[in-house]
């Protein structure tokens, strides 16, 4: 027998929820939703990738503590700014100097 599918946990208006609406014991009743928790707002520095310099060594990808490096066709092409906290590890580890950090204005 296939288990019953639960309805998706709809939290679109969670900011308005009172005590009666939350899940018992603060449990999160679904999986794979850390992506929805946007933490990039903590960032004060932002990495920029020079795609032409990237050799595809993937060190930035493996060192990133937040899985924020976007890889396409074996090369770093973008940074997920919803979750990147600007730690600068990618820029430090990149052997090709393909990543530079800039200070965000008003961050």
């Amino acid at each position: 027998m296939t288990p019953m599918k639960r309805p998706k946990w709809d939290i679109t208006d969670i900011d308005t929820w009172g005590p009666g609406k939350h899940e018992l014991g603060a449990t999160i009743p679904t999986s794979g939703n850390s992506d929805e928790f946007v933490t990039g707002g903590w960032r004060s520095q932002t990495p920029h990738i020079d795609i032409d310099k990237c050799t595809g060594c993937m060190l930035c990808y493996f060192f990133c503590p937040d899985a924020s490096i976007v890889i396409e066709n074996g090369k770093a092409v973008d940074v997920d700014l919803k979750h990147c906290k600007g730690c600068g590890i990618c820029a430090k580890e990149c052997p090709s100097d393909a990543i530079t950090m800039t200070t965000d204005q008003g961050a």
């Binding site: 005590p19 939350h22 899940e23 014991g25 999160i28």
Partner: protein, 400 residues
């Protein structure tokens, strides 16, 4: 009736509870031995070894680990129990709050013993009174029978869908835990049917429906709302505790309330007391009644949630109430029970006087004479023209 089947047994309080646990046969027990609770854990471990129960028994290296393992087990979806006392209870401290806030229906036996120091292994209520704000439901038993009865009822209360909050049930160390007293058990099958099968909510082991238990409350911040829902569950628990007691009474013939008044209806002076001292107090009340003194008593059964309205109802006609605390709250106006009772009676008109008594710390004996002496002080206050002071009155203490 159960009585006809099992008869009356002579057991220690700890044996009574181990037998209740055998009948409950929880999925998991994680526990660490500590005086005076040791016998509960030892007997239960033996039952596991002998195959009398199906429980997984997890031996741990401390009470901090015991409560941690219990939380993990309950979150996984297992009916889980543990037991402790005193320093062990104190070592569980941070986890008590976690268990309650995760709304895990754990049941814990706590055999009341003084907290150090000086090191003391005897009875008082300072251990669990310190945990009164942890979010657990607290049931206090008077004797062997109540230790057994509360343990079984605690399962139903904790697991009730209106409550889903852990329950600790207590009885006095040594006085009850180690001394032999009478016990009438329910048949195993009756207990099994009474507690019913366990239904976990959002269990971690339901891998078809993965969940996260105990997440970081995050930057959105719903901690405040979750605390309010804990308190709402406490409010609902008052009804549930009484309903469970009523259902249990139908099976056992033993009737329990949230509180237990004794000769209170026309009482002018009354004592409020928790635990085994209620038995001694009842005897003193009878003695005073025989002399024409209008004395009464209330035994506290449920301390969390505290049924303040029921106390106001029960005690509003009494002139002077003496509250016997077997724990102190240093620097407060009195012991923990005193503070609750005094607050509960604040809105009564006329307002009874409420006087704090401290007794039995670190297992200091409490004799009928000591309780009689407390009643004398209540009588004097009742006859006095002015309200008596609310300084602590100590019973059976060395002066000087």
């Amino acid at each position: 009736m159960a009585e006809a089947k099992t008869g009356t047994l002579a057991v220690t309080g700890n044996e009574a509870v181990a037998e209740a646990m055998r009948q409950i046969d929880p999925d998991v027990v994680c526990a660490y031995p500590i005086t005076p609770q040791t016998e509960v854990v030892q007997l239960y471990a033996q039952m596991v070894a002998d195959g009398k129960v199906t429980s997984e028994f997890v031996t741990v290296e401390s009470e901090h680990s015991a409560m941690s393992a219990v939380i993990g087990s309950a979150a996984a979806g297992a009916r889980t129990m543990t037991a402790t006392s005193s320093q062990g209870f104190a070592l569980m401290w941070e986890l008590l709050y976690i268990a309650a806030s995760y709304r895990l229906p754990i049941v814990m036996t706590t055999v009341n013993r003084a907290l150090s120091g000086p090191i003391n292994i005897h009875c008082d209520h300072s251990d669990t009174m310190g945990g009164r704000d942890s979010g657990w439901i607290q049931l206090y038993g008077e004797n062997h029978q109540q230790a057994y009865d509360n343990c079984i009822q605690a399962i139903r209360i904790a697991e009730h869908l209106d409550v889903r909050t852990p329950v600790m049930h207590m009885y006095d160390g040594y006085v009850i835990s180690g001394a032999i007293g009478p016990l009438v058990m329910l048949p195993d099958e009756t207990v099994r049917q009474f507690i019913g099968p366990y239904k976990a909510i959002n269990p971690l082991l339901d891998t078809e429906h993965p969940v996260t238990v105990g997440p970081f409350d995050g930057l959105r911040g719903f901690y405040f709302e979750h605390k309010i829902s804990q308190n709402r569950a406490m409010d609902r628990a008052l009804t549930v505790i009484q309903d469970v007691a009523d259902e249990y009474a139908d099976l056992s013939g033993r009737r329990y309330g949230l509180l237990e008044p004794y000769r209170l209806d026309d009482a002018e002076i009354a004592i409020v007391v928790i635990g085994s001292t209620a038995g001694t107090t009842r005897m003193v009340v009878d003695k005073l009644r025989a002399k024409g003194v209008k004395a009464g008593m209330v035994r506290v059964r449920v301390f969390r949630p505290f049924p303040h309205e029921a106390y106001a109802q029960a005690l509003q006609h009494v002139k002077v109430v003496g509250v016997l605390d077997r724990a102190d709250s240093f620097g407060a106006q009195g012991g923990p029970v005193f503070l609750e009772i005094r607050a509960a009676l604040y809105d009564c008109d006329p307002r009874p006087q409420v006087l704090p008594f401290i007794y039995g710390l670190g297992g200091r004996d409490i004799f009928p004479d000591n309780i009689e002496q407390a009643f004398v002080q209540l009588e004097q206050a009742a006859q006095g023209k002015e309200r008596a002071t609310t300084e602590r009155r100590y019973l059976n203490v060395r002066e000087g």
